[in-house]
Each structure stands twice: as structure tokens, then as C-alpha cells.
């Protein structure tokens, strides 16, 4: 009896150990195994990634007037639900001029507001951010099921079929860039666009999510991997404050911007190596032609 028990006990331990090391001894790193597992099951969700590409986004916080066009365009493009979830993949904060980009404490930043109704205001600048698609993401490491993964072109994506909603990735993200479906998301077949009042139908290229899963900005993977060069938010910005491109391509806008303007990333000391850069180049204009 005792022998059986001891043997069983030892067997159980060995089984756990073998299973744990299977991933390692098969010659791939855990990250590769995870990504492959996720990518295989996520085949239907996003188009295949391009190889040798590294996407980055740059935001000109000097030009940004906080109009929220990017926010609403993203909502329409990616079927981000309205009531009751009231989700937004892009956040916009009104910051005091006394707090420059390098002094942002906390995300969302302290001393900021999201409920301004008129912009741009004197003495303020506007901070816009979404998922930073980090090169060294803390969120993909901690996912217990491998639902969120880093794809070959640097995009951090979520396989909505694998997510169990434990929200560990949300705890790990230093930028609070992820949103959770606390309620059942409501997807009406069409919505009135707040930008131009047109009726916009549901976007069939973007998968619909269920309750209890995490979602976030995908850099419009369904667009940039297909036939469109830039995500929707970059396309609609009326003041050209958002720039997007492939950092591996030396002729792209973002590569040139990296060389010419002084860019800054948020919380760089955390070694997440985010792919969303900020710089201040543009200016904001008032109607009478004066600068703000």
C-alpha cells in the first residue's frame, strides 16, 4: 500500500515535470511555442503577418488638438461596443502644459481629464495613447492560456477564443492600454458616426468579441496586413498628428521621423520597448490664425 502510494506520488511529480519541460526540450523557446499555438488557433481572426516588418506609430503631441476623431473612427472601424460597455481603444487626456511628456506619472496620468468638451484649450496639450505594441511586452508573458501573443510583425494580438478573462495581462500592462468586456457587448448592425453623421455598418473584417474577454488596439491588423497602409486612426487625424509605418523600411515616415525629431517613449525605464513614440513638432492654430 505504502509502496503504491509512494510510487504514485513520485509518478505524479515526474509527470508534472515532464509536461513542463516538453515545451523546452522540443527545441523551441516557450515564447515560440506559445505564439505558434496561439497563431494556429487564431488563424481565422487576423490575416497572416508579413515577415521582416516592424510596425511603429508616432504621435505628434504638439499638433494633437484632442478632437477625438481618432477615438471615434477606431470605434467604428473595430466594432468597439457603445452602451453598455462604453469602451474606447484610444484614450485621450487633456494635460496641463506644466506637465510635459516626460513627466507623465501613472497611466492614466495624474492631473489629467478625459471629459473635456472643448478643445484645444490654451495652456493644455493632449495625450493620446492606445496599446503600445511593445517589443518586450510584459502582458504576453503573464497570460496563463497564451491567448495574447506577439506576432511576427511586432503586433500584440489577442486570440479571443482562448482568453479566459483572468485580466492578468491588464495588471501587467504598465500603460493600462487594455480593456475588458465587463458586460455583454452590444453590436448593432450599423451606427451613426459622430464624425460626419453617416451611417456606418459593422465592419465584417474585425472579429466580434464576447463578454469576459480582454480586447485592445490591434494597429488595425485587418487593414495593414491587407491592402491599407495605415490604421484607421492615422488616416482620419485632421491635423496629421499620427504617423505610422515600418521601422525596418528606411524610407518610411516613421524611420525618417526617428532620425530627424527627438522622440520620447513613456515609461521607458520599464524596458518594455514600446513601439509608440511621442514627439512635439506641430503647432495648434486658432481660427484667427494665432497659435495656441
Amino acid at each position: 500500500m505504502s509502496k503504491i502510494n509512494r510510487r504514485d506520488f513520485v509518478k505524479a511529480l515526474a509527470a508534472v515535470g515532464v509536461v513542463a519541460t516538453l515545451g523546452k526540450i522540443s527545441g523551441k523557446s516557450v515564447k515560440d511555442v506559445t505564439s505558434e499555438v496561439s497563431r494556429k488557433s487564431a488563424k481565422g481572426l487576423y490575416p497572416a503577418a508579413e515577415q521582416g516588418v516592424r510596425y511603429a506609430m508616432m504621435i505628434d503631441s504638439g499638433a494633437c488638438i484632442g478632437c477625438r476623431t481618432c477615438l471615434h473612427a477606431c470605434k467604428l472601424e473595430n466594432n468597439v461596443p457603445d452602451e453598455p460597455s462604453n469602451m474606447e481603444w484610444i484614450d485621450l487626456f487633456e494635460m496641463e502644459n506644466t506637465r510635459p511628456v516626460s513627466e507623465i506619472h501613472g497611466m492614466p496620468p495624474a492631473d489629467s481629464s478625459t471629459d473635456y468638451t472643448e478643445s484645444p484649450r490654451e495652456g493644455h496639450w493632449y495625450l493620446s495613447f492606445n496599446c503600445f505594441h511593445c517589443e518586450n511586452p510584459p502582458c504576453t508573458k503573464v497570460c496563463p492560456t497564451g491567448a495574447t501573443y506577439q506576432d511576427d510583425d511586432g503586433l500584440i494580438l489577442i486570440n479571443y477564443d482562448l482568453c479566459i478573462g483572468c485580466r492578468y495581462c491588464m495588471a501587467a500592462c504598465p500603460y493600462n492600454a487594455r480593456q475588458f468586456n465587463w458586460w455583454d457587448p452590444v453590436y448593432p448592425p450599423s451606427r451613426v458616426s459622430p464624425i460626419d453623421g453617416e451611417i456606418e455598418p459593422l465592419n465584417p473584417k474585425v472579429p466580434l468579441r464576447t463578454r469576459g474577454v480582454v480586447e485592445k488596439c490591434t494597429f488595425c491588423a485587418h487593414r495593414i496586413r491587407d491592402d491599407n497602409p495605415v490604421p484607421r486612426c492615422v488616416e482620419v487625424c485632421p491635423v496629421n498628428a499620427r504617423h505610422f509605418g515600418d521601422l525596418n523600411d528606411s524610407e518610411s515616415e516613421v524611420s525618417r521621423l526617428l532620425e530627424t525629431v527627438r522622440t520620447h517613449r513613456i515609461k521607458e525605464e520599464l524596458n518594455t520597448q514600446p513601439m509608440l513614440y511621442y514627439f512635439t513638432r506641430g503647432v495648434k492654430w486658432k481660427d484667427d490664425g494665432e497659435k495656441i
Binding site: C67, R68, V239, W285
Partner: protein, 349 residues
């Protein structure tokens, strides 16, 4: 009668005629005969002269207004009247009559040199001076080459036609340009007239130097167009010419002299706004629904700043969690209370 009586009569006649000669013909009103005198023979010139500005030089209401406003100075009268006497400030006839140019009475001066015209058309209205400075080519064009002496009008239907009598080939090129098509006269720019400032003593310009040196003449004289932000390109017309390279054709011209059609002007904007152009090329700026849209489809090139972009609404807060159902909670508390009471009572029995 004797011979002696005849000599006395002739002597008296000679004396009276000499006296008449000596005392007669002063430069005074008696010698000016008036236009009626000339009309008796020279009908056609008179017909030309009567409606001309020369005849109305004094009676013209504009002149009267200005003259009276300035306090009726005598300096005006030397040109606007006939037979003005500087010493006593009197004049013989109003306006520039035949005798002002041809001399009083039967003088019938036939001088057609520019210097005759320059007696009046100089000074505050420096036509003569300008013409003198207008360069050797126009010096051969004396006043009467373009203007009829009596009507003072041009010897052609339009000023442009007048210019084309010499500058014919040039005009053919201009006719095909924007300014030419619209029918802008050469003289509107090349002979720009500005009035003199009598109070300050600044002469005006009558444009007879054929050069656009007047500071008051720029594109905005005719085009009510204000440049906002793009006025940094230059002072007055230089700003306009930065884009509209050639002043007659007004075509869009790049720095390397390439000409762009009006409906494909992106490269012109790109000359200065090269970073924006790069963004537009890569799809990060412009009209989302039309990636090939020209800059000018959104930006008015004369007032390019787009301000007043509306702020879109805030995303409202998430729906908060609902409260408990009151009847259920009350029932629960009541029942648990009863059970607790039961436990306590049973225990302490």
C-alpha cells in the same frame, strides 16, 4: 485846296496809326478772341474739342470740388484756364481753349512737340517727366503718336490696342494668359494712375513711365484677396508670385520653372511643406476616402489653416453595477436573523 492840306492829313493819319501801333496789341484780354472766333473757320477741330477734357478743364465738377476744397489756389488755374496771368491771378477764359495752345487770337501756333503739352502735363501730374524717363524706346512715341490733340483721346479703340500698335507680338502671347482672357487692359497695370497729394506736395503718377513702380499697385488692388499665413511668402505681390509664378499667365510655377496645371498642384505645396507631402504620400494625411485628393481640396491655398475642428463627444462612463433587489435582501436578512436568534435561544436554554 492846296498841296499843303494833303500833307497835313497824311501826317495826322500816320501819327494816329503809329500811336495805335505803339499803344495797341498788349497781352491782355483784348487780344484773346475766344473760341467763337476760331470756330468761324475751324469747325472740325472745334467739334473734336468741345466734348474733350480740355474744354471742361475748369467746369469739371471733380476739379471744382478739389479746387474749392484746397481753398482755390492760383496754382491750379495756370493749367485749368486760358490766359492765366500770374501777376494778378486773373485768367481770360475757363478751361483749356484753342488759344491756350495755339496762342491768343491769330497767333495760330502749330507746335506739336511734347514740350507744349508739358506746360501743363507736368509737376503734380508728371506725365512729361515720366515719359522722359520711360526709356529710349518710348521716347520716339511722342504725345501725339497716341493721343489726338483735340479730343485728347487715344488714337485706338482700347489702350491695349494702342499698345499693340507697337507691341503687337507680345500682346498675342498675353491674350492667351489668364489676365488676357479676362480682358485686363495693359494700362491697368502698366500705366497705373495715382492722384497727387496737394496738401503734402507729393506728385501723383500718370503711368506714362509704363513701369509698375507704384507701391500702391499690387495684386490686391484688383483682387480682393487676403492671404492668411501664406503672406509670409513675401511682401504684397511677391507673396502671390511665389506660387503664381508668371504675372500674366498666373500659372503655378515651381522653383525649377516647371509649370503645373491648376488641377494638379500637390508638388507646388510640397516644395515648402515637404514633411506634410511625405505624410500624404504614405497615407497618414489627407482625405481618408480619397487618398489621391489634392491639398487644395481641403486647404484653401490663400487661407490654408483649418481651424475649428469640432471636438467629438466623450465616451460616457460604463454602466455602474446594479443594486441588490430590495425585497430579496430584506427577506434574507430577516430569515438569517430569525435563525441566529434561534441559535442563541437554544444555546442559552
Amino acid at each position: 485846296m492846296s498841296f499843303k492840306k494833303g500833307k497835313l492829313i497824311i501826317f495826322l493819319l500816320f501819327i494816329s496809326m503809329s500811336v495805335a501801333v505803339v499803344l495797341g496789341d498788349p497781352e491782355g484780354a483784348e487780344d484773346y478772341k475766344g473760341t467763337g472766333y476760331c470756330l468761324s473757320c475751324h469747325v472740325e477741330p472745334m467739334v473734336d474739342w468741345i466734348p474733350s477734357p480740355h474744354s471742361k478743364a475748369f467746369s469739371d465738377p471733380e476739379f471744382q470740388e478739389e479746387y474749392l476744397k484746397l481753398g482755390s489756389p492760383e496754382s491750379c488755374l495756370s493749367c485749368h484756364t486760358t490766359g492765366f496771368d500770374e501777376e494778378d491771378g486773373t485768367f481770360v477764359y475757363e478751361g483749356v481753349t484753342c488759344e491756350e495752345c495755339h496762342g491768343p487770337g491769330d497767333t495760330m501756333n502749330r507746335d506739336t512737340s511734347p514740350e507744349l503739352c508739358a506746360n501743363c502735363h507736368s509737376g503734380p501730374y508728371p506725365t512729361y517727366e515720366e515719359w522722359k524717363d520711360s526709356g529710349p524706346s518710348h521716347l520716339s512715341a511722342t504725345c501725339t503718336l497716341c493721343h489726338d490733340q483735340h479730343t485728347a483721346e487715344l488714337l485706338a479703340e482700347t489702350p491695349t490696342e494702342m499698345c499693340s500698335s507697337c507691341h503687337g507680338t507680345h500682346l498675342e502671347d498675353v491674350e492667351e494668359t489668364k489676365h488676357g482672357e479676362v480682358g485686363v487692359e495693359c494700362a491697368e497695370c502698366h500705366m497705373y494712375v495715382t492722384p497727387p497729394d496737394f496738401e503734402e506736395g507729393i506728385p501723383g503718377s500718370t503711368g506714362h513711365d509704363f513701369v509698375m513702380t507704384s507701391e500702391e499697385l499690387d495684386c490686391q488692388t484688383c483682387h480682393d484677396r487676403t492671404l492668411s499665413k501664406h503672406d509670409v511668402l513675401g511682401v504684397s505681390e511677391f507673396a502671390c508670385l511665389s506660387c503664381h509664378g508668371e504675372i500674366h499667365s498666373l500659372e503655378l510655377e515651381l522653383i525649377n520653372k516647371d509649370v503645373l496645371p491648376m488641377n494638379d498642384s500637390v508638388l507646388l505645396c510640397a516644395q515648402c511643406h515637404n514633411e506634410r507631402y511625405t505624410s500624404w504620400e504614405q497615407g497618414t494625411h489627407g482625405k481618408p476616402e480619397d487618398p489621391e485628393a489634392q491639398c487644395v481640396e481641403c486647404h484653401d491655398p490663400h487661407n490654408p489653416v483649418i481651424a475649428n475642428i469640432p471636438t467629438l463627444p466623450v465616451i460616457p462612463e460604463r454602466r455602474p453595477p446594479a443594486g441588490p433587489s430590495i425585497p430579496l435582501t430584506t427577506a434574507f436578512i430577516v430569515i438569517v436573523g430569525i435563525l441566529g436568534l434561534a441559535i442563541v435561544l437554544l444555546r442559552w436554554r
